[in-house]
Amino acid sequence: MITEEFEPTTDTVEEEASVEACTKCTACNTVCPVARSTDIFRGPKALGPDLERFRSPQEAAVTPGLDLCSGCKLCEVTCPSQVSIQEYIRRAQNQGAREKGRSLRDWVLGRTRLLGKLGSMTAPLANFGNSNPLFRVLMERFVGIHRRRPLPKYQWLTFERWFKRHPRPVKPRRKVAYFYGCWVNYNDRRLGERAVAVLERNGIEVIVPRQQCCGIPAVVNSNMDLARRYGQENVRHLTPIVEEMDIVASSTSCGLMLKHDYGHLLDIPGSERVGAKTYDIMEYLWMLHEAGELDLNFETVPMRLLYHAPCHLKSHGIGYPAMRLLKLIPGVKLEEVDEGCCGISGTFGVKVEKYDLSMKIGSRLFEAVKAAGSDQVLADCETCRMQVEHGTGATSAHPLEILARAYGHG
C-alpha cells in the first residue's frame, strides 16, 4: 500500500539490476537447460525474480523443483536487463538448506579441497574404490553419489608439491600468479604443468600464491557461509599479490568466483580488487597476443578439434578467447559444437537423484559430438570435460593443452 505520495528528490539512474528490472520477457526460460529437460522445473523466471517478491530473510519460499537449478547461469547470460536471476535462486536454495539442514553428501561435496587432500594421500586406494562397482553401489546407497558417474582420479603428487621443485625461469619479462584450483592440484597436475610451460615460454614467471578452494563447490551445495570463509581466505592471500601482478585461472568456474561471485554473491569486502586483476588463462594469453607478446613459433598440430564453450565461460563476458588462440596454430581444424549446457554443472550431475537429468540435458551435445567425429573435444571447464567423455566416449582436453603441444610439450 502506498501511504505517501512519491516525490523524487534525486535523478539517480539505477545501476544495479534488481528484481524490478525483470520485464517478464521469458528469454531466460527459453535457454534454461533444466527447464528444457524436465517439466517439474518451472524455469528461472518463476523461481528467480517472480518468487523473489515473496521471499524474506525470515522465510525461504522453497518451492518444488528449486533444487533442480544447476547453477549454469545461462539465464543471466541471456537476460537483456542483467537481472541476477540465478543468484536469487541460489540464495533461496541456501536459505532452504540452512533451515532444513544439509545431507552428508552435500556437506562433503562442498569441500573439494578436503576430498582432494584425502584422495591424493590415499590415491591408489581412493581410485580403486571410486572405480569399484561394489563400492559404488554402497556409495550410491549410503552417500547418494550415482553409481554410473565416473569420479575424477586422484594423483599422489600434487601440483603444489611439483611446483616447489620446479626451477624458476631466468630473466622473466613479467610475473603472473596462478590460481590453479583443486582440480589441477589433486586431479590434473599435468594441466598445471602445461600452464606453467606455456606462460614461461612467453617469458612470464609463474608465482603460485597460497590459496584455498575457490568456494564454488560449497556455493552449489548450498553452503554459502563455507564458500564465504574460503573466499575471505583467498582474498586475504591474494590482495597483496594483485598489487604486483595479475592472476590467471585455468578453471572457468574458479575464475568466475574470483572475478564476480566473491563480490556479487558472497559480499566479500575487498574482493573487487582481486577480481579486477583476475583473468581466465586463455583470456590472458589472448591479451598477450594482441599486445604482440605471444610467441607465435608454433609447431604444426594436425588435429580436428571440437570446442564446447562452458556455460560459466559465457558468464565471464569475454567471448571465446580459446577459439581465437587455437586458430593461430597451423594444422588445427577447429569447430564449435554449439549445443548448450553439457548437464553436469560441477557436482550436480554426480548426485543420485540428478544423474539422469544431467545426462538428458547433455544428450544434444553428446549426439553432436558423436556425429562430428573429431580427434578431441576441448572445453575450458574440467567437469564439462568429464561429462563429454562420459557421455560420448571421446577424449577431451583443456584448450591450453593444444597450445602447449604447439610449443612442443606433447
Binding site: 535523478d11 520477457c25 567471448g319
Partner: protein, 420 residues
C-alpha cells in the same frame, strides 16, 4: 579485443549490420547485452503497414509507401537510411535467410495481411513460409486451433475478433488437448514447440485436428509452436497429417517463430567464424580527438575493451539497455550524454496506449552519416554510427515498420562504418 567493426546490439538492425560487414570481407565482432529485442519484437519483418499510427487502411505496396514517406519526412529514419538502403538491406536479408536455411517469403512489392494471436489483421512484408497460408487476401475459411491449458492463445477470442474485422469467409475455433499436457501442468509455447519435434506428438495433435476440422477447403491457424530446431520438416509433416493448409500465428513471448530466426542467424554467423561476446553490456566509450578508441564492456570482474576501426550502435529501444532513464534525464551507455529528451514533451507517455508515445521518440540526434551528434550537429565520435531504436524519432510501432527500419538503418550504418 581488436576487430575492424564492432556491432553492438542483438536485433535485426545489428544482424543486418553484421551481415553487411561480413559480406565485405572485413572482421566483425558482435556485442550482446542479452538475448533481447529480436527475440520478442520480430516474428515477421514489417517494412511499413500503415502510413500513420492512426490510419485505418493497411498499405498494400510497401516500397511505394516508403518512397512517399522519404519524400515527405526528411528526418524519418527511412529518409536517413535512403531508399537504396531499404532495397539493398531487404535483399541482403532475404538472401541470408535462404543461405541459412530459413524458409521465408515476401517482396517489397506487396504486404501480406496475417492474423495476430488476438485476431487482428496485420500487414507485414516478409514472413516465414509457415505463416503465409493465413493471408487474409485469400478467401478460404479459417479454423483457429488452441490447446487446452495453453494460456497464450484463446482461439474463441481470436476467432470472434477476426470474424468482426474480416468478413470474407467463415472463422471458427477449436480446442484440442496436447498429449502430456494435463490440467496441472503449467506450460508455454516453448514447451509445446519442443514437443512438436517429436513425430508421435505431432501425429496425435494432427489426428485430432483431422477429425475436428470438417469444412471443405478450410485452413487451420495454430499458435507458432510447430517445432524449434528443424521447423520446416516438422511443419511439412504436420500439414500433411492434418490434411488442410496450416498456418502459424506468432505468440506473445516466448515467441518460438522469432526464436527460430534468431537462433539460426546467430549460429550461421558463428559457423562463419564471427565471434559474439555475450553477457557483457557496453557501458562506456573512450573518445579522444573525436574518435572512439574503444568501447568498454562490463565483463565479469573487469572491463573488456573492444578496439575497432569503427562501431555500429544498433541497440533497439529501451529493451536492449540502449538508454537508461532517470527521473528527469535519459542517458546513453557510451558517451554518457543526456539524450535529447528536451525535444520531447515533458510527459513520457501519451494518454492513449495506441497513440505515438513520446518515450519512443528518444534517441541520438544524428549527422547525415548516422553518427550520433551533439546539439550543434557535430559528431560525438567520427567512427560511431547508429542504427535502429537508438536513433531519435525512431518509432516503428504505430506504422508497423520495425523490421524494415531496423534492416535499412543497420545496413546503411554498416556501409558508413566500412567507409570510415
Amino acid at each position: 579485443m581488436k576487430t575492424d567493426v564492432a556491432v553492438i546490439g542483438t536485433g535485426l538492425a545489428a544482424l543486418a549490420a553484421a551481415r553487411t560487414v561480413q559480406q565485405s570481407g572485413r572482421r566483425v565482432v558482435l556485442v550482446w547485452p542479452g538475448l533481447s529485442s529480436l527475440y520478442f519484437l520480430y516474428a515477421t519483418v514489417d517494412v511499413i503497414g500503415y502510413p500513420t499510427a492512426t490510419a485505418a487502411d493497411p498499405i498494400a505496396h510497401p516500397a511505394q509507401a516508403v518512397a512517399r514517406l522519404i519524400a515527405q519526412e526528411p528526418s524519418h529514419p527511412y529518409a536517413r537510411a535512403g531508399m537504396k538502403a531499404v532495397e539493398a538491406g531487404i535483399a541482403l536479408m532475404l538472401e541470408w535467410f535462404k543461405e541459412a536455411g530459413l524458409a521465408w517469403e515476401g517482396t517489397l512489392d506487396r504486404n501480406f495481411l496475417l492474423p495476430t494471436a488476438t485476431g487482428t489483421p496485420k500487414p507485414c512484408c516478409l514472413a516465414p513460409a509457415s505463416m503465409t497460408a493465413g493471408d487474409l487476401s485469400r478467401p478460404d475459411p479459417i479454423v483457429l486451433c488452441g490447446f487446452t491449458g495453453y494460456q497464450d492463445f484463446a482461439p474463441e477470442f481470436a476467432a470472434a475478433n477476426l470474424a468482426r474485422q474480416w468478413r470474407t469467409a467463415e472463422v471458427s475455433a477449436v480446442r484440442i488437448t496436447a498429449p502430456g499436457y494435463g490440467p496441472d501442468r503449467h506450460f508455454t509455447s516453448i514447451d509445446l514447440a519442443r514437443s512438436f519435434e517429436d513425430a508421435a506428438f505431432r501425429d496425435a495433435v494432427a489426428a485430432q485436428l483431422r477429425e475436428r476440422v470438417t469444412s471443405q477447403g478450410a485452413r487451420v491457424g495454430i499458435p507458432g509452436v510447430l517445432g524449434l530446431t528443424n521447423p520446416s520438416e516438422s511443419f511439412a509433416a504436420f500439414q500433411r497429417a492434418v490434411g488442410h493448409p496450416v498456418f502459424e500465428i506468432p505468440t506473445v513471448p516466448p515467441s518460438v517463430i522469432a526464436l527460430r530466426l534468431f537462433d539460426r542467424l546467430r549460429k550461421h554467423l558463428q559457423e562463419a567464424g564471427i565471434e559474439i561476446i555475450w553477457a557483457a553490456p557496453a557501458h562506456a566509450a573512450d573518445v579522444t580527438d573525436g574518435r572512439c578508441r574503444n568501447v568498454l564492456l562490463k565483463a565479469a570482474g573487469h572491463e573488456l575493451p573492444v578496439e575497432a576501426e569503427s562501431y555500429v550502435v544498433a541497440l533497439e529501444d529501451w529493451v536492449d539497455g540502449a538508454f537508461r532513464a532517470g527521473v528527469h534525464t535519459v542517458r546513453d551507455p557510451f558517451f554518457h550524454q543526456p539524450i535529447a529528451w528536451s525535444n520531447v514533451p515533458t510527459d513520457r507517455t501519451a494518454e492513449s496506449l495506441f497513440a505515438t508515445q513520446p518515450f519512443e521518440q528518444v534517441g541520438y540526434a544524428l549527422t547525415e552519416r548516422l553518427q550520433p551528434a551533439d546539439e550543434n550537429g557535430t559528431p560525438l565520435a567520427r567512427n560511431v554510427f547508429c542504427a535502429g531504436g537508438a536513433m531519435a524519432g525512431y518509432d516503428p510501432s504505430g506504422t508497423k515498420s520495425r523490421g524494415g527500419m531496423a534492416i535499412a538503418t543497420g545496413y546503411r550504418a554498416a556501409q558508413e562504418a566500412l567507409a570510415a
